[in-house]
Point group: C2
Chain length 420, copies 2
């Protein structure tokens, strides 16, 4: 597949792939690592094409992430899109939560509102649209759960076969919610990092030649989908970026792409100023990026993940060094929180905003609190936190039930203290 010509992407602004380390360039093919230095590739754009994008052209677009198609590597022609039309999720003014934390202005960008209820629908839509253009016939991924849901659902909508690889110990909600779409679902007796390694090997086999692994062989396209979260926050704030953002980290890629999105918007003149301190949030059970930052290095020491925030449990995070760079460059910081803090974060968010987040959202709220306590984050500066997933998928992480149980009578209601 990797010898395919660039023709399929002729309408869009992408002109090639470029190595994030040595800047070697490649055509727009299914390739994720540099042949010179083994660095990760990312999409390279025609700066003039990006500069032609205006607020008006975006606002005239559909009410989903494809309004930013002219800033993405694939999908500028609606007929080519392989998508559930995610995006334009709510940016919620979290006034009660701000009060509880002593902050002046706080927003929650709630990506649980996407079709399969996580931000992964964004990256999958871009990856599979590119994959279809490149001629791939089957859709695949290595996943901690949310990505599996999204790939299987996208394949079902598109009428294509899917094969999804997950660690065998995922939350039941995430397994069932993949299985229901009817594709192949392969449980791997190992960690996510083991799953990811196996998928890398499978892409090299003849049998998987026409299979697009969204986060392996078409990863450069995939990763660009995360930019839309940043674009939306800026547009929803009236075309400006917030002073601070707090973003959950698994591979670290979401954080780097939101930072990139803000910078792009400033470069093409859609926002006046891209100054935004970027903060990263991890679970203490899998905190290799935060640990490296605190140790003053950008060399990530892989860990064996533990803890309830399974969607963030990537022990060997590919974009970790770039996340550290973005955080240091923007004056942000990182924190990590344990399982009890995560549970408390889920509850605090739900009780103050009506948003029921999965464990990754609990990580973000708890890290926000910790960063405030540590004096790292300014309570007076406008802040956006990202909820990337849905509480219904990680019910095991929360407990709770009826506060009262009674028979259906006024007498019982009175005896239970419900009538004063």
């Amino acid at each position: 597949m990797s010898t395919q010509a660039t023709t399929p992407f002729a309408d869009g602004p992408a002109i090639g792939l470029i190595c994030r380390n040595c800047q070697a360039t490649y055509p727009l093919v299914a390739q994720h690592a540099c042949w010179q230095c083994f660095g990760p590739l990312e999409v390279d754009y025609d700066a003039d094409a990006l500069a032609r994008v205006t607020r008006e052209s975006i606002e005239a677009g559909p009410d989903n992430m494809w309004r930013y198609a002219a800033l993405l590597p694939a999908g500028i022609d609606p007929a080519t899109r392989v998508t559930l039309d995610p995006g334009m999720t709510p940016l919620i003014s979290a006034d009660n939560l701000a009060r509880a934390l002593g902050m002046r202005k706080l927003w929650v960008k709630d990506d649980s509102a996407n079709p399969t209820h996580s931000f992964k629908d964004r990256v999958v839509s871009v990856a599979l649209t590119a994959a279809a253009q490149l001629g791939f016939e089957r859709y695949a991924c290595a996943s901690t759960g949310n990505l599996a849901n999204s790939v299987a659902a996208h394949a079902a909508r598109a009428g294509k076969p899917s094969i999804v690889f997950i660690p065998h110990d995922l939350e039941p909600g995430k397994i069932l919610t993949t299985a229901v779409y009817g594709g192949r679902l392969v449980a791997i007796e190992g960690s996510y990092d083991d799953v990811n390694r196996l998928c890398g090997e499978l892409t090299e086999t003849d049998e998987f030649e026409s299979t697009a692994f969204v986060n392996v062989n078409v990863r450069p396209f995939y990763a660009e989908g995360s930019k839309t979260l940043g674009y939306e926050v800026a547009e929803q704030l009236g075309w400006r970026v917030p002073a601070q953002v707090v973003i959950p980290m698994a591979s670290g890629e979401l954080l780097t792409k939101v930072d990139k999105a803000f910078a792009e918007l400033a470069e093409i003149g859609l926002v006046d100023d891209a100054t935004c301190a970027v903060y990263g949030a991890q679970s203490s059970g899998c905190n290799p990026i935060a640990t490296a930052l605190r140790a003053g290095t950008d060399v990530i020491t892989p860990v064996k993940p533990t803890g309830i925030a399974k969607s963030l449990n990537i022990g060997d995070p590919a974009a970790g060094p770039y996340a550290i760079d973005a955080v240091k460059r923007t004056g942000g910081w990182m924190a990590d929180v344990d399982d009890d803090e995560i549970r408390a974060g889920i509850a605090l968010l739900a009780e103050t905003t009506g948003v029921f987040a999965e464990t990754a959202g609990g990580v973000v709220v708890a890290c926000l609190r910790k960063l405030l306590d540590e004096g790292r984050l300014d309570p007076e500066a406008e802040t956006v936190i990202f909820n990337t997933g849905e509480g219904l998928k990680t019910l095991d992480a929360v407990s709770g039930g009826p506060t009262h149980q009674i028979k259906p009578s006024l007498r019982d209601a009175r005896a239970a203290g419900l009538l004063g």
Copy 2:
């Protein structure tokens, strides 16, 4: 509360409440039954005010259900809204599903995309906005699960206390997802109909004088929220109504309000023609409305509900006779399906559209199939089916898991047949 003046609603098009049976009129107060004949009350509008609404005024509104505020009894002033801003959920072209069923054109209106992932967010937003205007200080409901989620989440966002009443045997997903918002949650040892009866009694007590039960004492306002589902379908089709709709029935009210929405749009000239055959879908475990229709009567004989479609398990459905009237008047019909058919409906919808529905959505798909098989529904006519809830809330209803389980090695992948 019921003696409150109508002033709070002065800006909106609602002018009073009117009895659906004897047409007696009342002011806009918290009252749901007629003092003359005990018939149900509904909201009465100023026809001139409705007629001033244009396509342009709607399209200039927010991208949620409040774009139709000028057609609703409360919330025309954004500052008065008690809401999670639901609505404008996707209308999905279900081409694979249409092919599977031999239909020409089929759409899925997917209301699982609402903030708490069911259509109940619409009715709760209207009910609580009216309730706040009427001076109520606490928010409550009798619920089969989805409504509980929505009321508790709305109260959390608004910073108000909530008290929610549910049958004790609900799906764990729906109990936890209410409990997480932190309000009072009362499990009743009985059926939904028992819960509903108790809530009716509680509204008469002094201790609940300032408590708005969204589906009891402010029910006329609540019910109007369902109209927005009909408005959206028509707008999303380019301001026309489909030839056929299939709608799940619990109380039967959703069906009557979608029918009413289409008629209103025609009356005020926003669509040319409101001709739409309305079909109702029930579970065989709770089919009193479909049974009455087939028996040629509009007298509903209450049943004791059974079966997995718990969100539809209302054995004594208040709007049943009106649902039968709408179905007969429009040339539609009703069907009911058993638990195995419901499970098959969930799977068929997921595998062909990427939409994972709760049991109520499975009921609709299975009833669509049955109505086609019976020759009641025209496969050549454009049809919209309604998915009103989220599969993640009723995981117990589906089964499924990995199709393969292997160790993380190419050798194991080959042995499992994944490499050809």
